[in-house]
Amino acid sequence: MKNMSDVLGSLFLFLLGIGALIGAIRLTVGSPTEPQPGFFPFVAGMILIVFSTIIFLQGWLGRSKEKVAFGEITRPAMLLGVMVVLVAILDRVGYVIGTFIASGLILWILGAKSWRVLILTSLCLSMGTYILFDKLLGVDLPVGFLARFGL
């Protein structure tokens, strides 16, 4: 039986390897005596091509064990959705508001039952980490539109 996860994974790696070779040739590979910027990416691309081909053959011929067994996929997908939204709004709304919304949503997705706990946890987490990292540890976190109010 074919191992489709290996077949698909290896195809992706193979294409990446081909891309690396093309990129390396464009950069000029040079020779072992005079290696050019494309030399090392060329080697990395070759490694990818060789081993992805072996993985592909093992998967296609059913010599490797199928590993993929997706469990409940909704929660990971929703978490990713929240993270994508956070990336989109982080600069505009700033760290505190962005993470307050995101952590509230994540807790809700993950099954936090009480609204009070959910809001309180999100607030403590966003404010607490902001004070710890930005104010105490000097990590520069985005302020967003709150900057207009001098915050």
Partner: protein
């Protein structure tokens, strides 16, 4: 005398009140993440990198090191009480530790694992103090060819010891090398694979990649399965092992300590493999191998000692050769680089206070961990009742801070999310993430030494075989990678012979 003078200099640094505080913080965080399943030491060290930006380098490394060896102590608690390894190096502890707990001997299992870890950690730190300086001065003689072969061996060991297939590990190594080429070429200064995106000129940041591959992907994997934590309720009275327990397992502790130390020293060696080997050794030398898997205390004492000794000694290749042997040590390598310190043979000469301070802090850290683990066992068990969603949301938020803090750019947060998805798919498909991150970190070093060697030899690859040290290192690397092929051939010739341990 040098040894004592160096160590006293180290204790001078480690006993600084702030460094004591950071060692304690590291030990507490390490124990906590060791106890909690679903967050491993590499992810935690990656998560805490932003905290260390403004810290003194010695304090930063002391804290991060504490997390690593603290996790080895904590991991056993979850294995013994939940039959779930708190972290990967405690997998084998489940076999006998949980059985002991079910027989009403949880206290003895926890006690022997904490004490065994303490003894092993101390033995390993002592060994490290003796070995590290000689290894560093030996490595000073290395030229580019030797360095190339050493880095290659480190990568091959990481591939060989990764739990998944070796071919997949090699492919991930190739991908890591390719990702490491993004940005400005370290030798000739050309721009590579940036696709016009100025943010990529410095390449992908290790922190961003590590947080995605280890932090976000771990959360995604954990969210797939419903959360079931059935903590085995038992009394923790009598945490000290009995005289009979000690009689049975003192030799296991000694063997585990020595085995763990030597495996940890190997580039690519580490806590996980040492615990498995120790278990196999204990079972083989035992007069009652049939008791293994049914609650044999030697099956807890040996592996727990070994994983602690190995986690400590795996600092040796990092601090003396500049080669991170596993993913957690790779994160500590990144932490050193963030502070402008290049780990390697010169570190001992350039930063003796840091070098010996970190070693001395490990002596102190082990004492702290013994104090933290046994008397506070009830607290660690209560930690297991905290629902996973609180941990997940904290991990996500800290990952966002960590990725953003690298260059104050949302672009990096987006890149981290992408690497999180990549890491998730990799784990699902059985592609190990550790060779990728190690190859990415070691790639520029490998490229530089390869080019320097080839230029000096006029393009001839013979240089790597002409130099004896390089030839030996390459031979070992080739042996490691060819072993599974030879095993397979051997297996085909002799059907019916089971290939032991091929699954890692």
């Amino acid at each position: 005398m040098d040894f004592l003078a160096n160590l006293s200099q180290g204790f001078g640094v480690a006993l600084n009140p702030w460094n004591l505080v950071f060692a304690a913080i590291g030990a507490v965080i390490g124990t906590a993440i060791g106890v909690l399943p679903g967050l491993g030491p590499p992810a935690t060290v990656a998560l805490l990198l932003p905290v260390t930006y403004k810290m003194d380098p010695a304090s930063a490394i002391i804290m991060l090191a504490g997390i690593f060896y603290g996790a080895m102590y904590g991991g056993s608690t979850t294995s013994i009480l939940l039959n779930i390894p708190g972290e990967a190096a405690s997998v084998v502890t489940c076999l006998d530790g949980y059985k002991m707990a079910r027989q009403g001997r949880a206290g003895a299992a926890l006690g022997i694992s904490a004490m065994g870890s303490f003894i092993a950690g101390t033995v390993s730190v002592f060994g490290m103090s003796l070995v590290a300086p000689s290894l560093a001065s030996f490595a000073l003689k290395f030229g580019p060819a030797e360095y190339f072969s050493l880095v290659l061996l480190g990568l091959m060991m990481a591939v060989y010891l990764s739990e998944e297939s070796i071919v997949k590990g090699l492919a991930m190594g190739g991908l890591g090398l390719l990702l490491g080429t993004v940005g400005i070429d370290p030798v000739l200064g050309a721009t590579r694979f940036t696709f016009g995106i100025s943010r990529l000129l410095d390449g992908f940041d290790f922190v961003v990649v590590a947080m995605g591959l280890f932090g976000i992907s771990e959360v995604l994997i954990n969210l797939e399965a419903p959360e079931i934590r059935d903590v085995f309720k038992t009394s923790f009275k009598g945490l000290l092992p009995t005289r009979e327990d000690w009689r049975r397992c003192w030799a296991s502790v000694v063997r585990g300590s020595l085995l763990g130390f030597f495996i940890g020293v190997l580039p690519g060696g580490g806590a996980i493999i040492s615990s498995f080997i120790s278990y196999a050794v204990e079972k083989r030398v035992s007069k009652h191998p049939e008791q293994f898997g049914k609650g044999a205390i030697e099956g807890v004492a040996g592996p727990e000692s070994a994983n602690n000794a190995a986690s400590t000694s795996s600092f040796i290749p990092l601090l003396t050769l500049g080669i991170p042997g596993n993913a957690t040590i790779a994160m500590i390598f990144v932490a050193l680089m963030i502070h402008g310190i290049r780990p390697g043979p010169l570190m001992l000469q350039e930063y003796p206070k840091l070098f010996w301070g970190v070693i001395a802090s490990m002596y102190i850290g082990n004492v702290m961990l013994l104090g933290l683990n046994l008397p506070l066992i009830g607290m660690w068990v209560r930690l297991l009742t905290v629902p996973y969603h609180y941990l997940a949301v904290v991990v996500v938020v800290i990952c966002v801070i960590g990725a953003y803090s690298v260059k104050s750019a949302v672009f990096d947060v987006g890149a981290m999310v992408v690497f999180g998805v990549v890491g998730y798919l990799m784990r699902k498909g059985g592609f190990p993430p550790a060779p990728l991150i190690l190859a990415m970190i070691l790639g520029p070093m490998l490229e530089r030494s390869l080019q320097q060697s080839l230029i000096s030899s006029g393009g001839s690859l013979v240089i790597f075989i002409e130099k004896p040290i390089s030839a030996v290192l390459l031979a070992v690397a080739a042996f490691l990678i060819l072993t599974p092929v030879l095993r397979r051939l051997w297996g085909k010739q002799k059907p019916g012979v089971a290939v032991e341990g091929s699954g890692g």
